[in-house]
Structures are given as C-alpha cells and as structure tokens.
Amino acid sequence: MAITNNIRRLRFEHGEMTQQALADRIGVTRQTVNAIEANKYSPSLETAFRIAAVFAVALEEVFQHQGPAPDPK
C-alpha cells in the first residue's frame, strides 16, 4: 500500500497509549486501528484527521504517501 503511517510510534510517545484507547477516542474498533497501523486499511479523511488531532500533530506527521509524485501538468 502506498500510504504508510507512524501511529505505532506516536502511541508509544503518548504514554504507550493502547490501540483500544486510540480506537475509543476516534470512534472505531480496536481491530480497525490495528488494520490502519499495519497499513492494511486506509482510513477515511475524517478518521485520519481525528487520529492526528488525538496526537496533536499535523496529518503529514501521521500519514505519508510513498507513491510517485503527481504530474504537475
């Protein structure tokens, strides 16, 4: 998948927050957080912003796109 993330690191840096705690704060199941973290599921924009808000960082600090840059034309 072209989208990667730093959720595991961010959880660790925020008092070793559990997947369940993050899931409860963004309104999804623990399994969904696990799937996002493992890059097996790309969340909606709304959920992505919620995750960034929980960690109080910019969206780019949580998610990165690894694919080729878009054509400027």
Binding site: V28, T29, R30, N34, K40, Y41, P43
Partner: protein, 140 residues
C-alpha cells in the same frame, strides 16, 4: 475478534448448518423418495424458528462478552467490508434467480420452484457472509 466479526461467524455457521440440513433433506427426497409425503413446508418453518432462536441466543452471548462494542454502530471499515461483500453475493443471487426461472419452465410444480428460489437466496447470503469473513481475515 470484533463483535461484528463474531456476529458474521454466527450467522454464517447457523445458515450453513440449519439450512444445509434442509437442502440435503430436500435433495435426498428428490433422489430417493422414501417418504413421498414428507412435509417440507413444516420442516422449513421449524428450521426457521430454530435459526431465529439460535441467532438471538448466540448474539446475546457475544454481546455480553463485549457490551460496549455491541452497542456501537459499525465503524467505517466494517461498513466497507459489508459493502464489498455485497458484490459477489449479488452475482450469486442473480445467477440463482435466473436458474429459478429455468426451473419454472421445466414444469415441475410450485414447491420445487420455491425450493430453487430459497436455495438461491441461501447461497447468496452464504456468499455475502463468507466474503465478509474473508475481508475481515485478510485485512486483520
């Protein structure tokens, strides 16, 4: 395993066993009519009651183990999985519907036609639940 995945497993296994028994009975009767007056309508109704009761009981047990999750609506990934599973189920159901029309043209009577339609619905629902389980496991 999330509550929704447990719920999907419950429905899939119950459908497979309970209505699997019904269709095996119907097929056996069609091939070897030992008891020509078997009341399949009554059998169907009894199995329907059994499956409803089992669904309620097993879902209540699953909900009691994770009450918070059971109370919440499905999240975006679960909704997407449910949606993706509808596609293969639709094709199975449509194929079954057209085959049921073919059965109607064979002039075999009303009951075989009803069985063919219920069989198509059963296969479609099994495909739906089976595909959901596949996506749950693949994206776990």
């Amino acid at each position: 395993m999330s509550f929704r995945e447990k719920s999907t497993w419950i429905t899939f296994v119950l459908l497979l066993i309970v209505f699997g028994y019904y269709f095996v009975s119907v097929a056996a009767q069609m091939m070897h009519p030992v008891h020509p007056h078997t009341n399949f309508f009554m059998l169907f109704l009894v199995l329907l009651v059994i499956i409803v009761v089992m669904e309620v009981v097993l879902h209540a047990i699953a909900a009691s183990r994770s009450p918070n999750e059971a109370r919440k609506p499905q999240d975006e990934r679960e909704a997407l999985i449910a949606l993706k599973a509808k596609r293969p189920a639709f094709y199975v159901l449509m194929t079954g519907a057209f085959l049921s029309v073919a059965v109607a043209h064979l002039g075999v009577g009303v009951w075989p036609l009803i069985n063919a339609m219920v069989f198509a619905i059963w296969l479609g629902e099994l495909t739906n639940r089976g595909a959901q389980l596949y996506y749950y496991r693949r994206e776990h």
